[in-house]
């Protein structure tokens, strides 16, 4: 379709016509689908890309009520309620809404799309909306294959690791005859290395599950204080072997929360073991529980290396490691805090930190006392960390 401009003697009219022509050209020629609606939710314009992606004809769409034509589906293929749709939320908030979701095409197929919806404001009044979307099937497929590969590879790696650990322990315990002290030290090294490899595989598997939404959350009332004590018990040897003081400061209450115990303990263990790892020998790591009206906050404070200010914004990014720790220790995956954030999100919690280089860091996790927030996040598949 050619964009044309009508020329008139009035400068303003000519300018307006020119702008309309440009807008028309953009709307028609962009590769992403674009749909315009009026203030009554009726479709006023739809571009060729949108028609091609969804399989509709223009005459079947223009003038129709948007939710009747563009059906948004959830992960399970069920229609999303009207009030939760991106376009409704754009008008409820007055802001642009961007998200990935699914549309139902004309032939009934479920199509993954990345959608951005913006209200159209004129003279401070909303007069409609523009929704732009693109087909992200290829991206979804790549993500799915990546997750499947990591999951398969991780499971395949666990089997030989299990054999290594089993037989190494049998040797250590003398099942195959006496061993020398030197042999014992070598076997300890093997066990330590295989434990680290197992932790890495667990981390990779958990990340895959978070990203695929397949972690099941099973909330129950529990004492965060008791959970913190259990996590500290597991890390006691790691701390004492380096003369690091590991303590728990808490109020007299048990700090009860309704949450998933395995996931919450994983978060606490990750934060505490990070604190120990990056604290010099002789330092201290303190866990502190604070009871708030609607949540419980656990702080993990260390006297360690701290995080350079330039690295603060990326600390929860996948594979990111701050430059000062990379210099100190070249191994490490940069996945621990990414995992912590993902797990905290699943529990409806928040994670944040304060830190100063050379002085130490405090990481905080806040968990809600009620389960309504996490109930919405519960996924159907049950794949628990073993």
């Amino acid at each position: 379709m050619m964009a044309t401009a009508s020329y008139s003697s009035g400068g303003a009219a000519e300018s307006a016509a020119e702008e309309r022509a440009k807008t028309e050209a953009v709307f028609t020629s962009i590769g992403d689908g674009a749909i315009a609606t009026d203030e009554f939710g009726k479709i006023t314009r739809i571009n060729p890309a949108a028609l091609k992606i969804l399989g509709f004809k223009e005459k079947d769409v223009v003038g129709e009520w948007f939710p009747n034509i563009i059906v948004t589906l959830d992960d399970a293929g069920a229609p999303v309620s009207l009030i939760d749709r991106p376009i409704t939320r754009a008008f409820l908030t007055g802001q642009t809404v961007s998200e990935k979701t699914y549309y139902r095409t004309k032939n009934g197929a479920r199509l993954p799309v990345a959608v951005t919806v913006s209200p159209i404001i004129y003279n401070e009044r909303p007069i409609g909306a523009i929704e732009v979307f693109r087909d992200v099937t290829v991206e979804y497929e790549i993500d799915r294959m990546k997750s499947e590969f990591i999951s398969l590879a991780s499971h395949q790696l666990r089997t030989p690791l299990s054999a290594i650990k089993t037989y190494t322990h049998m040797l250590m315990d003398g099942y195959m005859g006496d061993i020398t002290p030197e042999q014992r030290r070598s076997l300890s090294t093997i066990i330590g290395a295989s434990n680290r490899m197992n932790e890495l595989i667990s981390t990779l598997l958990n990340i895959t599950r978070i990203e695929s939404g397949s972690i099941s959350v099973q909330p129950r009332m529990l004492s965060l204080k008791k959970l913190a004590e259990e996590a500290m018990k597991d890390l006691d040897h790691a701390a004492t072997s380096r003369d690091i003081t590991l303590t728990l400061a808490h109020s007299t209450s048990d700090c009860m929360v309704r949450t998933d115990s395995l996931i919450a303990k994983e978060i606490i263990s990750n934060l505490a073991s990070n604190a120990i790892k990056y604290t010099p020998d002789g330092g201290s790591v303190t866990l502190k529980l604070t009871n708030r009206a609607h949540s419980v906050v656990l702080g993990v404070q260390d006297t360690g290396l701290g995080i350079p200010k330039a690295a603060h914004a990326q600390i929860f990014t996948k594979f990111f490691r701050a430059p000062n720790v990379v210099k100190l220790e070249t191994s490490g995956t940069g996945l621990g805090l990414y995992l912590v954030k993902g797990l905290a999100d699943r529990l409806g919690g928040k994670v944040w930190f304060t830190s100063e280089e050379h002085k130490g860091s405090t990481f905080y996790i806040s968990l809600p006392k009620d389960s309504n927030k996490i109930a919405a996040n519960a996924a159907g598949l049950v794949v628990r960390k073993s």
Partner: protein, 95 residues
């Protein structure tokens, strides 16, 4: 019988409840907070006038029955303009 001490906010929520059901107060709260940026309970007539357009577009995406939408909006306009505004809509009795 309406309580004379009912605030405008309460009357708006009651009216909205007729059309949106139990989600009424959450719907109105979000509209006020996001578009007027104030505590919902402090809603006044001037705020409601500004809000009506936003409510119209949002509700228009919840139902394709334009008559119901306009009926609801008319009720809100009556709350925003306590005196008659001289507007007559087809199918409705005088204000």
């Amino acid at each position: 019988m309406a309580r004379t001490t009912e605030s405008l906010y309460e009357r708006v929520v009651q009216t909205t409840h007729i059309y949106l059901g139990p989600a009424a107060d959450r719907f109105i709260d979000r509209q006020v907070q996001n578009h007027i940026h104030k505590e919902p309970s402090t809603l006044n007539e001037a705020d409601l006038i500004l809000l009506i357009d936003w409510i119209r577009v949002a509700v228009s995406l919840l139902t394709d029955d334009s008559e119901i939408v306009e009926e609801y909006i008319l009720q809100l306009e009556r709350l925003a303009h306590p005196k008659p505004i001289g507007k007559v809509h087809d199918g409705y009795s005088q204000l």
